[in-house]
């Protein structure tokens, strides 16, 4: 057995190191290390509860709004209020803008450049794909960066700016959209739709949404211009439709009143967030029995011998769970992804397909939300914070399920615990020795000297956000 350490793992958000035990050129065991600790949960303690809205976005520059939304939900829960109708729509729009922009950033800037590696120079698709997706220099960047910036102009209207907005409040949004702005939001969405249809898909969003099986997807991609069809052809050639499976145990808290909450393992199961615990056995954190996050703590133990990461191990019903667009779409019963998971498990290809399919599904929903806005009616409900209380905020970030648990005592934050999407996906082993989803997905892959960049694809297929993972 030889052990190799892979890092810095770039083109992920934040810092990542992976240690791989190899036998005969294949991974026998993987350990995932999140090597950066910042201690945001401690920053919050003793602060005024609404300060969480200014602090938590700064956990992450790419899931900033998701962090805001989780905090606002937890505070609303503690206050016993719900956002106004306009406030809820504005929040859906702000969250969807971030999530879709993240999907785009991941595909074009983080994930696809690996297909331009010299290791693939002999593949038939290589010349075109390399010219299009090469890091920084590829032709796609000139199309996608202006499209992304223009799409994020939605945030200029709805949230003041991105990242790090204070617009999302427990009662809705600080920013009431005017009748004229509503028209401009629709124009921006049309512009983004046009980019997606022209460059990414080479087809209408409706055609994408209608694809209902892997066979239909691959037939659709054949010979079609567009960046997504290019990916599908390369991925199929490399067998990425059968690589990268974790354990196909999925979790989603539900998004935008469009995709339901649930748990999936071979079939749909109910979700009870009371069954979530975090285990610190292999983290540089003080040991103890696994705790529910409402009762959780984060105490540094930097010299703990058995530890190999700053990341806790979240478990639901004692099992690791995969989260993200694939989990959301499987739990939502989307036929294309159900077919892919049932045929080959949660693969690199399935994760990318789920992400890009969400672009096709959510943009039309955003157009409908903008149309449903009622300028003149309130965007923010008022509420009163209790001196003593607690709250939970469960949302879906681009990368999956994000939960905030807070308690308030004497008018100040007493405890604040966060479980981020990549905390689930890049979890270390727990006290029962169960590896996290990525640790499982890497087993059996070729790695080490002379191996193809398969590990790179599998790791990035989860779209990890490491700054959220440990926070």
């Amino acid at each position: 057995m030889t052990r190799i350490v892979v890092g810095p793992f770039n083109r992920v958000e934040g810092d990542l190191e992976i240690s791989l035990d190899l036998e005969a050129g294949r991974v026998s065991q993987a350990r995932v290390n999140s090597p950066l600790f910042r201690g945001f949960e401690q920053v919050m303690i003793g602060r005024s509860p609404l300060d969480a809205l200014a602090i938590v976005p700064r956990i992450c520059g790419i899931c900033s709004v998701s962090q805001s939304a989780a905090a606002a939900s937890a505070l609303a829960d503690a206050m016993g209020i719900v956002p106004t109708a306009n406030g809820q729509l504005a929040r859906h729009l702000i969250q969807a803008t971030e999530n879709l922009a993240d999907h785009l950033t991941h595909f074009y800037l983080f994930f696809m450049p690996d297909f331009a590696r010299p290791a693939y120079a002999d593949r038939a698709w290589f010349p075109d794909v390399a010219a299009r997706f090469m890091a920084v220099k590829g032709s796609a960047a000139a199309d996608v960066l202006p499209a992304r910036a223009s799409f994020l102009r939605l945030m200029g209207f709805l949230a003041g700016r991105w990242p790090h907005t204070l617009a999302i409040q427990p009662g809705g949004s600080t920013r009431a959209i005017t009748a004229g702005e509503r028209i401009r939001l629709l124009a921006l969405l049309r512009e983004f739709r046009s980019f997606l249809e022209r460059h990414l898909f080479g087809d209408s969003l409706a055609s994408l949404a209608a694809l209902d099986s892997k066979a239909a997807l691959l037939a659709w991609a054949k010979g079609r211009p567009g960046d997504f069809p290019s990916f599908l052809r390369a991925a199929q050639d490399l067998g990425l439709d059968r690589i990268g499976r974790a354990e196909d145990r999925f979790l989603s808290y539900g998004a935008y009143d469009l995709f339901p909450a649930g748990r999936w393992q071979g079939g749909l199961l109910g979700l009870d967030a009371a069954d979530i615990v975090e285990d610190t056995e292999h983290a540089w954190l003080l040991d103890g029995m696994p705790r529910h996050p409402a009762d959780g703590e984060t105490i540094v133990a930097a010299d703990k011998p058995a530890a190999y990461t700053w990341c806790k191990a979240p478990r639901l019903a004692e099992q690791p769970h995969e989260v993200g667009a694939l989990a959301r779409q499987v739990i939502a019963g989307r036929p294309l992804l159900l077919d892919m998971v049932q045929a080959d498990g949660g693969s690199v290809m399935a994760r990318v397909v789920a992400r890009l399919l969400e672009l096709a599904l959510v943009v039309p929903a955003m157009e409908a939300w903008v149309q449903a806005l009622r300028p003149g009616e309130p965007f923010c409900a008022e509420g009163v914070l209790p001196d003593e209380g607690s709250g939970v905020g469960l949302v879906e970030a681009a990368r999956g399920s994000l939960g905030h648990w807070l308690s308030i005592r004497r008018g100040h934050i007493e405890r604040y615990q966060i479980i981020a999407p990549t905390t689930w996906n890049f979890s270390p082993r727990d006290r029962n020795g169960l590896p996290g989803p990525l640790e499982q997905a890497l087993v059996g892959l070729p790695a080490g000297e002379g191996a193809p960049p398969t590990v790179q694809h599998v790791v990035r297929s989860f779209d990890p956000c490491m700054v959220c993972t440990v926070h």
């Binding site: 350490v5 910042r38 700064r58 520059g61 450049p113 960047a141 923010c380």
Partner: protein
């Protein structure tokens, strides 16, 4: 001009913001100004050993580069070990890497308030992370590199402060440097480029009429001025956020929420709740920069008594309820 970029105790948001540069693709914009990345953790192809060898070549002086951009606070803890952030694949503290690379770069840029002054990473009670900025610890000169540090190009660390930074602040500082260089006179007392930190957030604020009449918002989403009740520090914060729009047409104030002065050292611990204005005897403690208190109080009282009904009524709702009057044309034809 070659730029090497590292990330440490931060959120990566300054890079995400930078990618929003408009109107051209960031990469085209920089390329045509003669600026290229030697390596950037979020954008470059090289991973693992390939990336480490680029960094080692730069650190050992085998590969020349011009600007070291660091994004994120320097985490020196626990107990001076730097273990809160070790370089992946290498195991050496980022603080060591940055110290070494800063001697090789001709210029060093701190990207964002974490890197400049410590930011939220330095905000845990008691600062167990031992976090600091590159050349400041909040307001106090020092930080990781020390107050006497000058990069081989002859400048202290250039602090492009902001949480996050506006893409224009980073792009324009890089492009000015590439075009004609930077001098200490281009920076303010805490190292920020004056072209943006020479303004106040208040300048160009779309809520200006409400400010003039002290017609104040009372709750989230109200249209009025956010200074009196909701914690806005726009009249004290150094930045051009309302002259240079964010994401096309936004700003914090345009978004309906307070400026929390995120370009200022120590903004993360204001000593009061972010969305509330601390007051003594009903008067905000934090008065507009350069404004004598007695005059502020006198003018505020006067302007409040002169507030038009339109401004007063619109200030406390989230959409206009009184339109500006249309003046009838006087005189005959």
């Amino acid at each position: 001009m070659k730029v090497l970029w590292l990330q440490s105790g931060g959120c990566g948001g300054c890079t995400q913001s930078l990618l929003c540069a408009e109107p051209r693709s960031l990469f085209d914009e920089l390329h045509d100004a003669g600026i290229e990345f030697v390596w950037h953790p979020a954008l470059s192809l090289e991973s693992g050993d390939e990336a480490l060898s680029v960094l080692e070549d730069c650190a050992e002086g085998r590969r020349a580069f011009d600007v070291l951009c660091v994004e994120g606070a320097m985490l020196r803890g626990p107990n001076g070990s730097g273990k809160f952030h070790l370089m992946a694949g290498d195991g050496r503290p980022l603080t060591e890497w940055v110290t070494q690379l800063a001697q090789r770069a001709r210029w060093v840029f701190a990207i964002g308030s974490c890197t400049a002054y410590g930011g939220f990473s330095a905000n845990t009670p008691g600062n167990p992370l031992e976090a600091c900025g590159l050349q400041f610890d909040e307001h106090t000169p020092g930080g990781l590199l020390g107050s006497d540090f000058r990069s081989p190009g002859g400048l202290p660390v250039v602090n492009i402060a902001g949480c996050p930074t506006h893409p224009g602040w980073v792009v324009e500082t890089l492009e000015k440097l590439a075009l004609e260089g930077l001098a200490e006179t281009d920076l303010d007392e805490v190292g920020r480029p004056l072209f943006y930190a020479g303004e106040l957030v208040h300048h160009g604020c779309a809520r200006n009429e409400y400010y003039e009449f002290k017609a104040s918002a009372e709750k989230s989403s109200d249209l009025g001025c956010l200074m009196e009740n909701l914690g806005c520090k726009g009249t004290q914060a150094h930045a051009d956020c309302n002259l240079r729009p964010w994401n096309g047409n936004g700003s914090c104030l345009r978004g309906g929420f307070a400026c929390i002065a995120c370009t200022e050292p120590g903004f993360e611990s204001p000593g009061h709740a972010f969305q509330e204005t601390p007051k003594v005897a009903g008067i905000p403690i934090g008065l507009p920069t350069d404004m004598p208190k007695a005059w502020f109080v006198a003018l505020a009282a006067l302007s409040k008594s002169a507030t038009p009904k339109r401004v007063r009524d619109n200030a406390v709702v989230d959409h206009l309820v009184v339109r500006p009057a249309i003046r009838k044309k006087g005189g005959g034809k």
